[in-house]
Amino acid sequence: MPKITIDGKTAEVAKGTTVLQAAQALGIVIPRYCYHPSLSISGNCRMCLVEVEKSPKLLTACSTEAADGMVVRTDSDKVKAARRDVLEYLLINHPLDCPICDQAGECGLQDYYMEHSRAKSRFPQEDKVRRQKRRALGPHLVLDNERCILCTRCVRFCSEVTKTSELEVMERGDHSYIDLKQGKALDNGYTLNLADICPVGAWTSRDFRFKQRVWFLKRTPTVCLGCATGCLMEAHHNDGVLYRLVPRPNAETNTWLCDHGRMTYKAVRAGDRLAKGVIKNGLIELEPALREAAGRIDENHPAAAVLGSPWLSVEDNAALARLAKDAIKTENFCFDFPGAQGVKDGILINEDPAPNARGARLVKDAYGGIALEELRARIVDGRVKTVVTEARAAAFVRDAVKASGARLIVFATNRADIPPAAYATLPYACYFEVPGTFVNFQGLRRRAEPSVAAPEGVRPLWALVNRLAAYSGASLHLDSAADALKEIVFK
């Protein structure tokens, strides 16, 4: 195990560790552009130059392996001068686009210039090399070659992570620029990661473009509900409006985030967002809708069924289980979703498009219930005449409901989710607006935290269930989401 001294601090690191990683472990930050912990080492930006004793020249910390007895300095005058010079070099041809650049505020050039250089440019603005300005590449991105500092993070991402190799550095020397290879299109499903890893404003998101300045954004850690992988992510929002989702890199699940997952926030303020109940096709206030739904359930208690949903949190599924057991008092409830699990594309996207099949299983363990096949059979043979479920989970019993003409009462966030067979629809607050617990395909507990407020009058699903039970004459005593979790045992 090599022992390395950086700025007077000594640490023993594993063989193969680079100087930059060793410094990070010691809490010393070495500036970098091309280095990314999840990509291969390139060593082209020269920002991480450090002084190593007995080495005649400065070495790049990102590509130098720590050796036994190595003495490194990251704060000497020589290193400081090198950082200043590298920044001056990178800024020679960088346009003064900051006022119109979306990266401003989280830009590597801005940050390091303020931290390490603050020197006036010695090169006249008129002599800057001109390159192609904005150009839409792929469904999600805009490329500005002029702002690019050729760190090749994007090129390496496409060849190493998605293994689609769409991008390449064209030409050589000071003619170099990033471009698509001939005949390729930038639509690998993970393209928005390029906007994240780009240290400057060369790659920016088309969706987020000019929507908000990044320094206005507030951050809420939450979890992606796009599939069963359950990637950790951060919701960026301001004034009650969500603007973008970015990954929270972690060892268990994800470093990146797929384009599909990043667009899940769109449903929150979509035009078809439900703020009122729907009976057949007409909008109706929430309370009358609840009364109507409860009335339909009460018509025939033993013939009512509750189907949980892998799209709902553990709390809301547990509340539905309580509704079936304690309010409707029926045996016809099901929290068993045998969805295929496992990473489908080798990167992040899961076989199961629903985020919480494992969490629904916990509810089944606590409350029991029948199998999905059994529920379908009971609907078909007429033993179940009313089904209460979530809009997307209604697809599990679609054919059975169609065959028997059973009445469907669903909870939905958006109008597009409502199945055509639904009799009554109740709006509920989505998991960007209320907290929820999810269990991903690995069995890890994931917490969705609220970042924005729900539209007026829209309440969490457990609260609706509580009201439904009250209309049916039973009290579930659900005052918070945590109340529903009481009987659930997390493994």
Partner: protein, 187 residues
């Protein structure tokens, strides 16, 4: 440090304590002003603001109502970088950015509102602007409105160059805008 000023309240003398002579003395002052102004109204120092204003001297430090400068083609010089909104201590600026399909400066303010009823006339927006797009040199003093909505300046209210002023060509992103204007002129 709080400075303390001691006020010497001398006791009232007999004439003052009699009360009525002092009332008469006060009324005399008011009556004199009334008759002087009645027979010589031009001598009044009062300005009937906001119906009447006195022209202000054009000094560099004078901060008056805002304006947004205009490029040669009539488009706003502002590129909606949000620097003024960020710097504003009174939160009176609201901008919504939009994108030009053709102009290489790419960004422009679709909405640019200044709520003058909130503005504290500090001039931070002018200092923060990297594009020389906002100025407080109209020599108009905001105020004297009967409703709040009259105090809300929209983009159209703000956009103008001063009479005789050549369009400004300063600013960080101006190169892109000028190139676009030039290419349009050549076509």
């Amino acid at each position: 440090m709080i400075s303390v000023k001691k006020v010497d309240n001398r006791p009232l003398n007999l004439l003052e304590r009699l009360y009525l002579p002092e009332i008469a003395r006060g009324l005399l002052v008011t009556t004199r002003h009334f008759f002087v102004n009645l027979f010589n109204p031009k001598g009044m120092p009062t300005v009937q603001y906001p119906e009447k204003t006195i022209p202000l001297p054009h000094a560099a430090r004078t901060r008056t109502r805002h304006r947004l400068k205009v490029r040669a083609d009539g488009s706003p010089k502002c590129v909606a970088c949000f620097m003024c909104q960020t710097a504003c201590p009174a939160y009176c600026i609201r901008i919504e950015a939009a994108e030009y399909p053709d102009n290489s400066v790419e960004k422009y303010p679709a909405v640019f509102d200044i709520d003058l009823s909130r503005c504290v006339m500090c001039g931070m927006c002018v200092e923060a602007c990297p594009e020389d797009a906002i100025a407080m040199d109209t020599l108009e003093i905001p105020g004297g409105a009967l409703t709040r909505s009259e105090m809300l300046m929209t983009r159209e209210d703000l956009l103008r160059n001063l009479p005789g002023e050549a369009p400004s060509v300063l600013g960080a992103s101006n190169r892109l805008a000028n190139e676009y204007l030039k290419s349009k002129g050549e076509q």
